[in-house]
């Protein structure tokens, strides 16, 4: 597994190194007196200006991976139990709370899934955008306000000046998500973590917000980790994809490669369960069985109990993430194929 990552890194060694490198990250939660990994041995690189999609069903650890990078794993129930998160030469897992706070919202930002509850109901929208500038840039109130107004205009809030002192409840879901984007972008972060930013929105609004994110990502020269369970969105926005299952990355490849040759049985089944307008809905496949519980993970491959290609050796030991030319798969049956 380690060799696989090193090989992947070596192939890009002629370009400047990745902006973010997650190395064997394990984030555990305490349940019934024992620690159980919700994220296990997750490794990936995020190149500069790249968009990496993290895909998987609810509870697969994709949000917890992002929260680990932010240093926002809920304490004391959870903790980063192992691994490293390298960001611009620093290991984020080794920083103290104050050092991490200074990075959050300044050089790494995050947008959340639920725009309706993610803004503070008793503070004005303008203040909530200006706040990050105030803490990270030491701006005066007036400077921060001017900049915040500019940001609200950039995320295309209609008549932003008039709405600056409005409260979140006076905004629609789509508009609130734009405000969230403005907050995240306020300090021009190098890395943006977007956790299902469009899932809670109407379909038409989704497309607008996605387009806005893509546009601003280019304009700001950011790198982005985009978390979603929607493979259609992945195709539209991402350069590379990491598919997660039960806390592990089971497959990672470029978008084109993954859609052309989905290799892990889980990825394959995930692709086949996307509804398509050109096929009969009756053919839509579902994946049998359920994700194993965090405290009862199978000893071998975590997908084995649900896998149509299961062999005895799958259940013997956890399979490594292995492959070549940037396409890595965690499957002993398919790895050699």
């Amino acid at each position: 597994m380690t060799t696989a990552v090193k090989a992947g890194a070596a192939s890009t060694s002629d370009t400047p190194g990745p902006i973010l490198r997650v190395e064997s990250l394990t984030t555990s939660f305490r349940s019934g007196g024992a620690w159980h990994p919700a994220v296990r041995d997750v490794s990936f690189d995020l190149a500069r200006h790249e968009t990496l999609a993290l895909v998987g069903e609810s509870g697969c650890g994709k949000s917890m991976t992002a929260l680990s990078i932010m240093g926002l794993v809920p304490k004391p129930a959870g903790r980063i139990a192992g691994g490293h998160i390298w960001f611009e030469g620093e290991d984020l897992t080794q920083l103290d709370d104050e050092a991490m706070r200074r990075i959050r919202g300044d050089r790494i930002s995050m947008i959340f899934q639920e725009p309706m509850t993610s803004l503070n109901p008793v503070l004005t929208v303008g203040f909530q955008v200006a706040e990050a500038l105030f803490y990270h840039r030491g701006m005066s109130g007036r400077e921060a306000d001017r900049m915040a107004l500019d940001l609200l205009e950039q995320v295309k809030i209609p008549s932003a000046r008039r709405r600056f002192a409005d409260y979140p409840h006076q905004f629609s879901g789509g508009m609130r998500q734009r405000v969230m984007i403005a907050i995240a972008l306020a300090c021009r972060p190098q890395v943006l973590l977007a956790d299902e930013p469009t899932t809670a929105l109407d379909v038409t609004i989704q497309a607008e917000v996605l387009a806005l994110l893509a546009e601003l990502k280019t304009a700001y020269g950011m790198s982005m980790v985009f978390i979603t369970h929607n493979l259609g969105v992945v195709a539209a926005i991402a350069d590379r994809v990491a598919v997660m299952y039960a806390g592990e990355i089971v497959e990672i490849a470029t978008v084109r490669e993954l859609f052309r040759r989905p290799t892990h049985p889980y990825t394959e089944l995930l692709m086949r369960s996307i509804p398509r307008v050109d096929r009969n809905i009756a053919e839509l496949e579902t994946i049998q069985g359920q994700v194993p519980s965090i405290s009862a993970m199978p000893p071998g491959c975590r997908f084995a109990p649900r896998c149509p290609l299961r062999e005895p050796r799958c259940e013997a030991a956890p399979p490594p993430l292995a492959g070549r030319s940037g396409h890595h798969v965690r499957c002993v049956v398919r790895a050699g194929a």
Binding site: P121, V122, I183
Partner: protein, 313 residues
């Protein structure tokens, strides 16, 4: 905001009228003849009729209702059956004592309870949290007359810092405060215990909200996350509880007023009950109703200050 205030004020008017009507009905619905009750079994027919006329209960019910409403609104509440002085004068004489006591208890409760509850929530399940929870539970379950007597023994009799009898005049500010301290602490302890518990649970809930995660994600320092982002949201249920409790407090100051021998509405109503002072009781019910309406109005206005969703809604 002004529109909201005016709206709340206008809403208070029908509430008050409804409450007055209920007081009227309650008084009339009580079985038995008030004149008979007041004068007793041995009273002559003539005396009974005289009293009925004085009370106005010989008139048709509709006329009584109009008289009552008019009197209540214009401040003409009749005379005390015992002292013969106007009910309003009696009430007016003790009202400042009750207002002093209630306001002091609320202030103490808020000033102790809000920081303590917040502190407790921030150290959830740490020893300090357990200590706070146990102490606040004790504060809630300790009877006011027992704590009152203990306070008197310690600070009035042993240490002699404060007077044993908290009657005193209102025109001397030093006396007024000295007389207030012990009774206010006695009531304030209960209030503080109550506020601590509500603040703690409300704060814990707010700290788990998505917008707190957003604040942390943008790098807001912990101090500001607590004071600016959490506390104002956490105070919304606290205001509700304090508002509800304030109504009860006005009524429950009776014990404290008796233990500390302090004039007040509570003491007035107890003596009116003992002496079957029918007009005084009716007047006091109106006063209590009026105070509760005012408390609710203040609570509503406080919401408007804390929660922007209220004034726009």
């Amino acid at each position: 905001m002004i529109r909201y205030v005016v709206k709340r004020l206008l809403f208070a008017i029908p509430t008050l009228l409804a409450v007055l009507t209920i007081v009227f009905v309650i008084v009339r619905i009580v079985p038995g003849d008030p004149a008979q009750t007041i004068l007793g079994d041995q009273a002559s027919q003539e005396a009974l009729e005289n009293l009925r006329r004085r009370l106005g209960v010989d008139k048709p019910i509709a006329v009584q209702y109009i008289d009552f409403m008019q009197g209540a609104l214009l401040g003409n509440w009749g005379e005390s059956m015992v002292t013969g002085r106007p009910v309003l004068t009696e009430v007016w004489a003790v009202l400042p004592h009750t207002v002093d006591l209630t306001v002091a208890a609320i202030l103490l409760g808020a000033l102790i309870g809000v920081p303590l509850g917040t502190w407790s929530a921030l150290h959830r399940n740490a020893p300090i949290d357990y200590a706070t929870r146990i102490v606040s539970l004790l504060g809630l379950s300790f009877p006011a007359f027992v704590s009152g007597i203990l306070l008197l023994l310690a600070f009035a009799i042993e240490l002699r810092w404060f007077p044993v009898i908290s009657a005193g005049k209102l025109d001397n500010p030093v006396d007024r405060v000295r007389n207030l301290v012990l009774p206010a602490i006695n009531l304030g302890i209960i209030m503080a215990a109550y506020v601590t518990r509500v603040t703690r649970s409300s704060m814990l809930e707010v700290l788990g909200e998505d917008y707190i995660r957003t604040a942390r994600a943008k790098g807001v320092p912990n101090r500001a996350v607590v004071w600016r982002h959490s506390l104002r949201n956490a105070l919304i249920p606290v205001v509700t509880v304090v508002g509800l409790y304030l109504g009860i407090l006005i009524g429950n100051s009776v014990l404290t007023e008796i233990v500390f021998n302090r004039p007040g509405l509570g003491k007035l109503i107890v003596s009116a009950l003992n002496q079957r002072d029918y007009t005084m009781l009716q007047g006091l019910m109106v006063v209590y109703a009026f105070l509760i309406v005012v408390v609710n109005l203040v609570t509503d206005l406080t919401y408007g200050f804390i929660d922007p969703r209220v004034k726009h809604g």
